[in-house]
Amino acid sequence: MDNIAGSKSSLSLVTHVTVTALVILWLIPTVGLLVSSFRDREQIAVSGWWNAAFSIEEATRYQPAAEGVTERDGLFVLTGSVFEDDPSTVSAFGIAGRAPDAAQPGQTYGRLKLDVVQEDGSIKTKNFETAWPVDATPVAPETFEDRPVQGFTIDRALSITRDGDFTWMSAKDITRAPSIYFISPKPPSFGLDNYQTILTSDNMDRAFINTFTVTIPATIIPILVAAFAAYALAWMEFPGRTWLVALIVGLLVVPLQLAFVPLLKLHNQIGIGQSFVGIWLAHSAFGLPLAVYLLRNYMTGLPRDIIESAKVDGATDFLVFTKIVLPLSFPALASFAIFQFLWTWNDLLVAKVFLPKTSEAWVMTVKIADDLLGSRGGDWGILASAAFISIAVPLIVFFSLQRFLVRGLLAGSVK
């Protein structure tokens, strides 16, 4: 006995570990989407979602207003703080966008105008950028491009303290806002903005209701119709039965796009037009092959003796079906219901074709795709949060129907 118990627990440990590993593997991409749904488009484009929780060192351009300029040692000076409202720390800075990390806080970084002696003895002015300690003066190189340097002037210089206080010096008067580049940690920013955009947009409640109006009948009707058909195909004898099964399998593969134009034409002719009735019928028919296929398969697996003994007792097929087969088939009915609900819930294509093109009839997918994402779609943040909003209801449905997928039902009714 010990032996069995021992192997059982080690086995279950392996099971736990394997399932955990699988779940993590399956979850990584989704977590990426979840994290992204709280970020805005620009953040998504610059850093990976796995870095979203950390602050990133980000380069910023700051352009202080050219006000309060003073003059000191022949240079025009502008002072202030790069952090106007919320204090942070500067880890590096520079005076040009291509090198925002040219100098460290505590240094001064600037552009010198070197007087370089040319071969013919004339003097040319060359730009030279360097860093020097704040309380010192810059040191010019002795030579520039292999020519001796005679002297220099400071053209412009910048120093920033770790706290963000800057001093901008310029040989010319400062009339235009100078560009200061610095690197500081950017705290992670999460927000519900994307969710808010979607949930508070006009008519979103309407779209939500519309989606339910489409999905519920479009889930129930095909199940009912398919259950009867599946029973006939599973338990009734009639000529051509196998061919019908084959036909159903064949119809599974029909691309829906083939059906759009003829069906919409038909709906227009018989006066349904683009309406909820039309989309119910369309979704029901499109879901039917899979429903019949899945349910027939499940029903053929039901114990033969129960059904036959009921028939011997004089029960008609109708009674056998409603009283025995239908209750026994609950797990299959529930699983098909989950899938049909999912497809109709996430469907965009059928809704666009069969529903009226007015905003009163928009379902959520249409609302999100055509109204919130904008003409050229590209707002990844909105897309991500939309994906999560639309995932919520199907998951609730999955959880609530999952209890029908249990063994007890079948076992109970057999006894």
């Binding site: 099971t15 399932v19 699988l22 779940v23 399956w26 979850l27 991409p29 989704t30 610059v46 990976g48 979602w49 109006t213 519920i216 009948p217 129930i220 009707i221 009912l224 119709v225 009867f228 058909a229 009734m236 009639f238 039965r241 196998t242 084959a246 159903i248 399998v249 064949g250 119809l251 599974l252 593969v253 029909v254 796009q257 083939l258 059906a259 003829p262 909820f276 028919a285 039917l288 296929y293 398969n297 499940y298 697996g301 008609t316 797990p331 299959a332 529930a334 699983s335 989950i338 965009l348 897309l383 994906a387 639309s390 998951l395 999955f398 999952q402 997928l405 249990v406 063994r407 076992a411």
Partner: protein, 325 residues
């Protein structure tokens, strides 16, 4: 009338209509047309049983023929005409397909998809279904693995953008390569293998489907057969392969068939991830390139896809035959 109320009314009408139809039609058949009266009781019951299957099937067949068979027949007819639908060209559209190297690439890729995706998804689904069967947190695990199923294809392609992107700041694969010092590469441009990177997405989605169906089937296996095996001293692995798998063979086949068919229909993944470039085109996305432009060509592709399902259909027919014996 508000759509909500309309919906409720429709649900009631639809439901009572369906139930009413089945009840009333059976009642009429049994009690009025072929009443089992004393003198010809047996004959009437037999007659009624000849008609009854068609009563059960009628609504389904009506819907199917109107919404699927009629468009299919119409489309086949359309595939015999030229681009502008003005001239009968026979099988010229099919010939043109065969001569197009893009089509042959799509066909080849589709074979890869059909081989890999159903097998991988069914295997993973079965694995998860079995492993979570007795697990205390099995339902949670299943829900998490099921989740990709509930994400729309647009959402899914966005998710996988974060996996495959070239920029190591966005794509997780290249972020990992970056940490071990490899230069970034584009998985979706890697010849041949890019097909498999795309298949991973569909496997990721379809495993949830396989898991739900197979998990229901596993739970449908009568306890006593397993208990008997346990008493006989069978090891868990033996129980799984010798007892459980044979009993749910039919369901495995259904799952396999369904996923195969999904593979032949799903164009969204290829469409959104590569647009069919880098030799990743598959038949459904190839068809969409022509849909509503050259319908003759598009419908011809649709029929090639349907022909590809023939083996699966034949397999299912032979199985259906076996079951009936």
């Amino acid at each position: 009338m508000s759509p909500l109320l309309q919906g409720v009314v429709m649900i009631l009408i639809g439901l009572s209509g369906c139930i009413g139809y089945f009840y009333v039609s059976n009642f009429v058949l049994d009690k009025i047309i072929f009443p089992p009266k004393l003198d010809d009781q047996g004959r009437n019951i037999n007659r009624a049983n000849l008609v009854r299957p068609w009563l059960f099937l009628l609504p389904a067949l009506l819907l199917l023929s109107l919404y699927l068979i009629y468009p299919v027949v119409g489309s086949f007819y359309r595939s015999l005409f030229n681009r502008a639908n003005t001239e009968f060209v026979g099988l010229a559209n099919y010939g043109a397909l065969w001569n197009d190297s893009g089509f042959r690439t799509a066909l080849y890729n589709n074979f890869l998809w059909v081989l890999v995706v159903p097998a991988a998804s069914t295997f993973m689904g079965l694995l998860v279904a079995q492993l979570t069967d007795k697990l205390s947190w099995g339902n949670v695990a299943k829900s998490l693995i099921f989740m990709p199923m509930a994400i729309s294809f647009v959402g899914a392609s966005l998710i996988w953008r974060f996996v495959y992107a070239v920029d190591p700041n966005i794509g997780i694969i290249n972020a990992l390569r970056d940490t071990v010092g490899l230069s970034p590469m584009d998985p979706l441009q890697l010849p041949f293998w890019n097909n498999f990177f795309l298949m991973v997405i569909l496997v990721w989605i379809q495993t949830g489907f396989a898991m739900v169906i197979l998990s229901a089937a596993l739970r449908g296996i009568p306890e006593d057969t397993i208990e008997a095996a346990v008493i006989d001293g069978a090891k868990p692995r033996q129980i799984f392969f010798r007892i459980k798998v044979p009993q749910i063979k039919g369901t495995i086949m259904v799952v396999w068939t369904t996923i195969t068919i999904t593979v032949l229909k799903v164009f969204d993944i290829v469409y959104a991830m590569t647009g069919g470039n880098f030799k990743t085109e598959i038949l459904p996305s190839y068809m969409m390139d022509y849909m509503f432009r050259d319908d003759g060509r598009a419908t011809a592709v649709a029929f090639v896809i349907m022909i590809l399902v023939l083996p699966v259909m034949i397999w299912n027919i032979s199985n259906a035959r076996k079951e009936m014996r």
